[in-house]
């Protein structure tokens, strides 16, 4: 098993906090999460009048004895959720100002989330995307599949352009049951396509979480002197004195993040910044704590 991707601190804090679905999810077995299906489980939900064909086992005999009316007792069904971990492996994710590239950070983040999800007996699926869905690992709820996920993540390399709109549309087709979709990406793509992808996932009833993975240099642009920048997703180059345009760049970049946040809010999506300058533990625990504070809707 390739355990390099698993950050023990992140996993430990994540396990402690756990991941609860904020929306009602459609699991395929009983779990800890609210299911849209009301059955006859433990949690009483409501009464309804008996209709022919109803299972007589759910008839409320006490009401029948007191009122001569036939009511059926209904219960809420708890289920597990299926989390789709969408990891951007476009060329732009190959940037890293320090030892860690964004892709490496995204892999670690996905690995930790997968481990936390599987360890709480929920299911996880892995979608690796760039201009489309490059690879898809179907759902699994077995922690025993974790090595397979890690190996797959470890062997992942970045390259090519980004078309998140296309990729997320493909992911939405795979996520037929309502579940949770984690998008780990720098989102350096067509914002309209990304918004469209979110819209599809949202309309599918998925709870979508965007983990916006950015390098600290991209956030602060601290270069001094003359620099030649080469675009990771094209052959374009440009030479400038970054100090001269830092303010303008940061304005552009902050505007971009603001637009992304607007899109996320529009489609009821959680937005969280995954600064690769921080540790995985900080990012995971920080987000899960925030999420737990929000509670179940």
């Amino acid at each position: 098993m390739n355990t390099n991707l698993l950050d023990p601190n992140a996993v430990a804090s994540g396990e402690a906090l756990g991941i609860l679905a904020r929306k009602i999810v459609e699991g395929y077995r009983v779990g800890e999460h609210s299911s849209p299906f009301q059955g006859f489980a433990i949690e009483f939900a409501q009464h309804r009048e008996y209709a022919p064909g109803d299972d007589m086992r759910h008839l409320d005999w006490k009401i029948l004895g007191r009122t001569d009316r036939y009511y059926i007792k209904q219960y809420e069904q708890d289920t597990n959720f299926i989390a789709h971990l969408v990891v951007d492996c476009s060329a732009s994710m190959n940037y890293g100002s320090g030892d860690v590239t964004k892709l490496h950070f995204a892999k670690g983040l996905a690995a930790c989330l997968a481990y936390i999800i599987l360890s709480q007996r929920d299911a996880a699926a892995l979608a690796l995307v760039d201009t489309g869905m490059k690879e898809y690992l179907p759902r699994t709820d077995s922690l025993g599949r974790m090595p397979h996920i890690l190996d797959r993540l470890a062997s992942l390399s970045a390259g090519g352009g980004t078309k998140l709109g296309v990729a997320l549309e493909q992911v939405s087709r795979q996520a037929r049951r309502r579940g949770i979709v984690f998008i780990v990406s720098d989102l350096f793509d067509d914002e309209e396509g990304f918004a469209n992808g979110l819209r599809l996932l949202n309309y599918s009833g998925n709870e979508v979480i965007v983990l916006h993975t950015l390098d600290p240099f991209e956030l602060t642009f601290p270069f001094k002197g003359q620099w030649k920048f080469t675009d990771l997703e094209s052959v374009n180059e440009l030479q400038t004195s970054p100090a001269d345009i830092r303010k303008s760049y940061l304005q552009n970049f902050d505007a971009f993040r603001a637009r992304i946040r607007e899109i996320c809010e529009k489609y009821n999506t959680h937005y969280a910044l995954a600064d690769t300058g921080k540790t995985l533990a900080e990012i995971v625990s920080g987000y899960l704590a925030f999420r737990q504070g929000k509670g179940r809707p």
Binding site: E218, K228, L238
Partner: protein, 703 residues
């Protein structure tokens, strides 16, 4: 515009440095891959134009900064071809030369010339610009800076001007102007001016040609002459007063001559001259019937002194507008007894009249034998072939008559005697071997003695010159009333070849020297070319022999007296007895009721002890005391040229003002720095450096 240090213009090449650094920075590029490329590209596209402009501004500012520094170090300056008449802008740097020579004491009844000059200088000072500066120098025959160089301190100038006083000195404006031009040469970029406040006395401007030349050579300096005198101001003065015959000895008549001059335009009638002794006792008074304009008259006084020691004689004329030359004082030392040695080559003649020194001895003591003992001069006789130090040491003069060549010991005695202040008079004769004599005493003699020869065989004799005597001993015979020396005839003589520096007292009619003299050490040697007896000439029989001998003796003895009469400012030095060594001495300067002042200390000067007193600016008699004992008296006399108050022709001064412009303006005009810009450029460079830094900071962090 030109540059004072043009070599620094090479520094302009350093303008390439900022360009090179700029280009170097462009090439010194770090590389990186970048994910958020589109945001960077957007920013660059938006700011590209601005960045180019900013880069260009900074590069231009840096290049300009380097260029400004290079220009500043090259010291750019405006130069102009400046002539003396050309005005420059800015506050003037002036040097005021105030003539304080004695002639500036001339008064018009209200104010002296110096007072009028000070008033005019003060008026000019009041009118000049606030930022103008001025120096003040007093000029006579020396330069005395009161405000050394042009200063804006008007209060100091006024204070010094108010304190300026007339001196007793002569005038020479040329030396003051020479120094003034040199001083102003060190000032540039401002109008420069020399203002001369003088009485335009001819004497002061006697070096007018040199002054004109200075003005031509310094066309950038204005020369303005402000005169305070008017032509035709009358003045009668005592221009000379000196001993003119005889010896200042007790009960021995001595002759003193005063020279009175009329420098006015009208005859001066009945000019009265009064002779006073020491404290004002009137000894004699004489009147000159009339002195014509520009003429001089001599007044002779015969004085008999009755007490030995230091005395002063003062001759006075009635007061006039220029009081400084109305009296003149002479200091002298009257001896009680004196001794002279007559050393003869042949002292053993049967007849006294045949002795080589007979006629000379009678001329030296012109009294009957029974009265000779009362005469101040005591004669001692000796053999000229052998003289010892004891014999000659206390003699006022030694006369060698027909001497043979002295042996080494005698020659040494004579040399030591003369160098110590003795006077040696030599009459060659038949016993005198010229070659040996020259060999023995050659370095003492005023002339080389030639072998005796006869005068022209046809004429049998050669006469002395009859007039045009230049030496004070014989100058008396320039006057017709005193007889003539042309009757002195020489039949045999030793030709004299006068040495450099020697003087000629009298000549033969053929121009050959008859009597030569020369100062040696502190003494003097006189060499006749013939005998002191009638053997070779008739001089001993001539009526002029006695006065000539007496005048010669007086002149030889007057050497000390001439040292007692000084020019203003000339230090007085006199030997005093050794017993006064290291004692303090005091000096009573001229004037009535003037207290004694400390003069200094009696100090060793070689093998003697002397008093030295340098503060001799006032004219008149000074008395020197050690304790209460008078040890010396000396007198300071006005420069006689200062009595001549005639003024230089106005057209000459006008020429002086015009000379630099008219005569050689184009040839002599020089490039003069009128304004320098290096400091302004440095300020500009500093401002540009600050601006560049601010811009660079703003461009880097402001956008």
């Amino acid at each position: 515009m030109s540059f004072l240090v043009p070599a620094m213009l090479a520094g302009l090449a350093a303008v390439a440095v900022p360009v090179a650094i700029h280009l170097l920075n462009k090439f010194r590029v770090q590389k990186t891959d970048w994910a958020a490329f589109k945001f960077l590209a957007d920013s660059l596209r938006k700011n590209e134009r601005r960045l180019r402009v900013e880069d260009a501004i900074l590069l231009a500012a840096r290049c300009l900064l380097v260029a400004l520094l290079a220009l500043a170090f090259a010291q750019p300056a405006l130069r102009a071809i400046v002539s003396a008449g050309q005005d420059l802008t800015g506050p003037v740097a002036a040097l005021v030369l105030l003539d304080n020579s004695a002639s500036m004491a001339q008064s018009d009844g209200v104010a002296t010339r110096l007072e009028r000059a000070k008033t005019l200088a003060r008026d000019w000072l009041d009118q000049r610009e606030v930022r103008a500066s001025a120096a003040l120098w007093l000029v006579s025959d020396r330069v005395e800076p009161l405000v050394e160089s042009p200063s804006a301190d008007a209060a100091l100038f006024r204070k010094m001007l108010d304190g300026a006083a007339v001196s007793a000195r002569g005038s020479d404006l040329a030396q003051g102007l020479r120094a003034a031009y040199q001083t102003l040469a060190g000032i540039s970029g401002r109008p420069r001016e020399i203002r001369v406040y003088s009485d335009d006395q001819t004497r002061a401007w006697r070096n007018l040609d040199e002054i004109k030349k200075l003005a031509v050579e310094n066309p950038g300096v204005h020369l303005r002459v402000v005169t305070v005198s008017a032509a035709g101001e009358p003045n009668i003065g005592v221009t000379d007063f000196r001993a003119s015959g005889g010896v200042a000895a007790v009960k021995s008549p001595a002759r003193y001559r005063a020279e009175l001059a009329n420098f006015g335009d009208a005859p001066a009638p009945a000019v009265r001259a009064t002779l006073k002794l020491d404290d004002g006792t009137v000894l004699d008074e004489k009147a000159v019937p009339q002195i014509e304009p520009g003429a001089t008259q001599f007044v002779d006084f015969i004085v008999n002194f009755f007490t030995p020691g230091f005395h002063t004689l003062t001759v006075e004329i009635p007061p006039d507008a220029f009081p400084a030359d109305n009296r003149r004082t002479l200091a002298l030392k009257v001896t009680a007894r004196a001794k002279a040695l007559v050393a003869e080559g042949n002292a053993s003649a049967d007849e006294p009249a045949d002795r080589d020194g007979y006629f000379l001895a009678n001329a030296l003591v012109p009294l009957p034998r029974d009265q000779a003992a009362r005469y101040y001069l005591e004669l001692v006789f000796a053999n000229a072939a052998r003289l010892d130090p004891a014999t000659v040491s206390d003699c006022q003069a030694v006369f060698l008559c027909n001497p043979p060549a002295p042996d080494a010991a005698t020659a040494s005695v004579l040399k030591n005697y003369v160098e110590a202040g003795g006077n040696l008079v030599i009459f060659p004769g038949a016993l005198t071997d010229a070659d040996k004599f020259n060999a023995a005493l050659g370095d003492l003699l005023p002339a080389k003695l030639g072998a005796a020869k006869d005068a022209d065989r046809e004429e049998k004799f050669i006469a002395w010159q009859s007039g045009d005597f230049e030496h004070p001993v014989t100058a008396l015979w320039n006057e017709s009333g005193q007889g003539t020396l042309g009757a002195v005839r020489v039949s045999r003589y030793c030709p004299l070849t006068v040495r450099d520096g020697a003087g000629v007292i009298a000549r033969l009619a053929n121009g050959e020297p008859a009597v030569a003299e020369r100062a040696v050490g502190k003494g003097r040697v006189v060499l006749f070319n013939s005998t002191a007896t009638p053997e070779w000439n008739n001089l001993p029989l001539h009526p002029a022999f006695v006065p000539l001998t007496q005048r010669l003796l007086g002149w030889l003895g007057g050497g000390d007296d001439t040292r007692l009469t000084l020019r203003p400012g000339e230090p007085f030095v006199a030997a005093v007895p050794d017993g006064l060594a290291n004692r303090e001495f005091t000096v009573q300067p001229p004037g009535e009721n003037v207290a004694r002042e400390t003069g200094g200390q009696v100090l060793a000067d070689g093998d003697r002890y002397t008093v030295r007193y340098p503060f001799t600016e006032k004219t008149g008699a000074y008395r020197v005391y050690v304790g209460n004992d008078e040890v010396a008296v000396f007198a300071v006399q006005l420069d006689p040229a200062e009595s001549d108050l005639r003024v230089v022709a106005p057209e000459d001064l006008a020429q002086l003002a015009a000379a630099p412009v008219a005569a050689s303006a184009k040839q002599q005009a020089t490039l003069t720095v009128t304004r320098e810009f290096w400091f302004a450029l440095l300020i500009l460079a500093a401002l540009l450096a600050v601006t560049e830094s601010a811009l660079a900071h703003w461009f880097s962090f402001g956008k």
